[in-house]
Every structure is written in C-alpha cells, then in structure tokens.
Amino acid sequence: MLITGHLRQIVNACHPQTREEAVQLWHSITPVRFGDRHQWANSPGSFQQLAAYAVPDDAAFLLVLKTECYTFTDTATAPGFRAFEPSPTGVAQWTTSQDQSLTTSTPITESVPIHLITEANGEFLMVKGGLTLFLAATLSAPPDANVRFIRTTVYGYLINAIISDRLGTGETLITGANS
C-alpha cells in the first residue's frame, strides 16, 4: 500500500477543492519504480550508477519520493551470507543528463554521505521530462574481499504540469559531510 499511500499524499498536498479535482489529480499520476543491482566494485573513488530512469518527454516531471538501498554478499561461505547490510560506504548524488549518459550528467544535488540519498523515506525531488535521472555514488572499498552486491529501489511518480506547479516549491535540499 506504499504506492497508493504516496498517491494519496501527492493528491492531498495539491489541496484539491472538490472530489472531481481530486479524481483528476489522482488519475494524472503514474507510479514508476526503478533501480539497479550492481556489484560493489573494489575500486575506491570510482563513480558508480545505482539507479537510472529516462523520464518520458511529455511526462512533465518525475517526482521522487523514496529510495531504498542495501548491500549483501552472495558468497555462501562469507560471514553474513545474504544478510541485509546498509548502503555501501561513500558519497552519492542525484544527477541528470540529456543524452542518457552518466558521464556527461549534471549534478542536481550535492555529493553527500550516501545515507542521505539512499535511506530517504521523505525524498522530494523533481526531474523534468526528457531528462535521464541517475543516482550516482562514489564508493569506498568493500569491507572485505567477498563479492557484494548493491540493490537500489527508487519510488518515483510521473506527474503532470498541474501537480508539479503546486508542489514544486517543496523540493528538498540535501546537504551533509563525511568525516
């Protein structure tokens, strides 16, 4: 029910005056869930894609509301085999690109400690139609030599221009630092 809950929150946040308006808003939203599974590469400092989605041209905006990310090892003999571990260590940021290329993408958030991006239950970011959204991380080395995978899930919602007009002022600022 997470997605229907999100839908309800989006509609309520638009403050519809009538039931008809609420119905119109509700039916103008398309939920999109996306994310990647990648091996946690043992190459500290490398730039790694954790999730990507090309927002359709006439979608107006993609609204990102929640991100989940965890790591695990699939090596049967490794300690913590298939146990959920937190996001990988490092920094992460959201970037967008006009040509679907991570390397040519432009950051839309700071590069911050990764938990600020990947453990976000109240994310509120908007991405314009036609752009590709990337969740990109610069990772530290894994804690040991066992192969680890990173799984990321992003809960996004394609919204129309009416909704984005009403909610756009609420975009999140994400800031922080490692020490």
Binding site: H27, T30, A54, P56, D57, A59, D99, Q100, T132
Partner: protein, 332 residues
C-alpha cells in the same frame, strides 16, 4: 433514435482511402459550390544527405480547394524517416503536434506509391481558400543511417471548388448533428511519439524485454482520434512471426486525468496500428493507418499515456515511431 455521442461528424468511411467518399464536413463545404473538379498537385522534393531541413511553399491557387489526402513517391524504406510539418500560412496552425520529433513521419501522413493502398486520406479534409499556401517543412535526421535520401514526389489530392453558390467561400457549415461550425475549425492533427528511450536528440531505442511509458502532448482543443500508424509494421522490424518480429511488441493506452479510462491488458501493436509494411523499398499494407475502433474524442488538455512492452528477450527496436492521426477541433 439519435445516437448519443459528442462526436460531431464521425468519419463514415474511416480514414483509409476506401473510395471516393467525403466526410460530412467536406461534403458540407463541397455542396457550397456548383463546380467540383478532381484536383492533383505534385511537388518534387530533394532531400539528399541527412540531416537536412527544407521549407517549401505550395503555389497559391486560383480557386478554393479541399485537400483530401497525400501520396508520396520515393524509396518506401526511407519515407518513414522523412519528417513533415505542415502549416497553413494564413492561420499558422501546425498539423504535427509539438514534440521532440520535427514533424510527422511521411508514411503516417501520406500514402506511398508502392503500397497496396498508395493514397492515404487525411483524418479530415482540409479547406484551403484561394490565394493561400501551405508551408511544408521537411526534416531528415541521422537515424537510421541513410547515406542519401532519394528524390521524392508529394502529390496533394483533393477537389477544386469553383463558383460558390452565393459568390463567396462558406464561413460556416452545418454538421449532421444540426450544429453550425466555422469552416477551418476541423484541422488535421498528427501526434507522433518515439518508442523507447530517447538516446540522442531524436533517436529512440527500445531494448529487449523493456517496458516504457510515454505520453502524447496535451492539446489546447478537443481532439478526435481517427486512426493510428507506425513505421514498425515493416520488414525492417520483421512483421509477422519470429523472435525478432514486431509481434513481440504490445501496447496499452490510457487517457490520463479521468476515471474509467484505462486498458487492463496489453494488445499487439498490429491490432491498433497500421503501417506501410513490406520489404525495403516497397510497402505492402492495405492500411497504412489503421482506423481506430471509433473516432475517439480526447478532451482538451488531456494526455494519452502509451505503455509499450517488448516481450522479446533478443529483439531491439531502433527509431520505432507511433503516430495518432486526429482532427483538431478548435473554433477560431
């Protein structure tokens, strides 16, 4: 019993050529003249090496004309990748909806001479008053890779209207539902979307096993959807059977912003969309544009969501295009 519909005319004969029938709107205009003559006007177009942008104006005509359809003569394998924007210079209303692509694929607006049905009717006849012109903007892109486009001929097909019964062109016509509408308030509209991710400025790619959701642009007026065309019904994409065939593609359409307007399942793309089809250099299909199940009125400001599903685990599609052929209902 009067059929309860908001559609002002419908299109009695579908929008494929289907014989010398006129839409009620066209018929009402034609009846305003005592002399009606079949009319053909052919324009040569040389596009050559892509990318190319070319603007041509049709000659101003001495008499009023009803343009009913188009035919293009050229290399049928290339024509789906020639993009055409049409604009009446007096009104400035574009026929292709504003979108990433610079117009409508020629195979979706015009019949191809080698097709089983070489002429393609417009979704609605276009009334072109004497002395006015059409602005034709041609574009070719870099995808798919075509070294040089063969010369083509575009023929506008219609009826020349001479000697109006009251000495001047009609300002309004009466539709079958008894309503009088201004002449010029029903204009062809073509809404084209690429299938898949936009990889560069106007190159689309749908990967194997991929699903995409895309939207048509919202239009400021009500729009009647009449028929649907795709360049993917062609040998380049393997119409018919097999792992690489277009039969692996399914689509689902939804009208956004309203209740009870959704489709519960995917349908094969060929059940909704017609196309030129055939092997390279030829075109074989009877329906270059498949008539919709009924002329469907899309309310102003609403968008159609199209979900495309590639069920093949191996086949990919490059520069697949879907075109909704419509009538724009605006009264200016």
């Amino acid at each position: 019993m009067k059929f309860p519909t908001r559609i002002m005319t419908g299109d009695k004969v579908g929008a494929a050529w289907a014989g010398p029938y006129l839409t009620p709107y066209a018929e009402a205009i034609a009846e305003h003249y005592t002399i009606r003559t079949p009319w053909f006007s052919t324009l040569p177009i040389t596009l050559g090496v892509p990318p190319k942008r070319l603007v041509l104006l049709t000659k101003p005509l001495q008499n009023d004309v009803l343009i009913l359809g188009f035919q293009a003569q050229g290399n049928a394998a290339q024509l789906p990748f020639v993009y055409l924007q049409v604009e009446h210079t007096s009104t400035g209303i574009p026929w292709a909806a504003p979108n990433v692509l610079p117009g409508v694929p020629l195979s979706a607006i015009s019949g191809l001479n080698s097709n089983a049905m070489p002429n393609l009717k417009l979704p609605e006849a276009f009334f072109m008053p004497a002395g006015t012109q059409l602005r034709l903007e041609w574009n070719t892109l870099g995808q798919p890779s075509i070294a040089s486009y063969a010369a083509l001929l575009l023929t506008l097909i219609g009826i020349q209207l001479t000697n109006p019964i009251d000495g001047s062109s009609p300002r309004t016509v009466r539709m079958p539902n008894g309503r009088d509408i201004p002449v010029g308030s029903r204009v062809p509209l073509f809404m084209t979307m690429g299938v898949g991710n936009r990889q560069s400025l106007a190159t689309y790619f749908l990967s194997n096993s991929q699903q995409r959701i895309q939207y048509l642009p919202p239009i400021a007026c009500d729009v009647e959807i009449h028929d649907l065309s795709t360049n993917m019904v062609s040998a380049a994409f393997g119409i018919g059977t097999g792992a690489t065939g277009v039969s692996n593609l399914q689509v689902k359409t939804t009208v956004m912003g309203v209740e009870r307007q959704w489709t519960p399942n995917f349908a094969p793309v060929t059940s909704l969309f017609g196309g030129p089809g055939g092997a390279a250099g030829a075109a074989t299909q009877i329906f270059p544009a498949m008539p919709y199940t009924m002329p469907y009125v899309l309310p102003a400001g609403r968008r159609i969501k199209v979900a495309v599903n590639n069920s093949s685990i191996t086949a990919t599609f490059t520069q697949g295009l879907l075109t909704f052929r419509c009538v724009r209902l605006c009264e200016y």
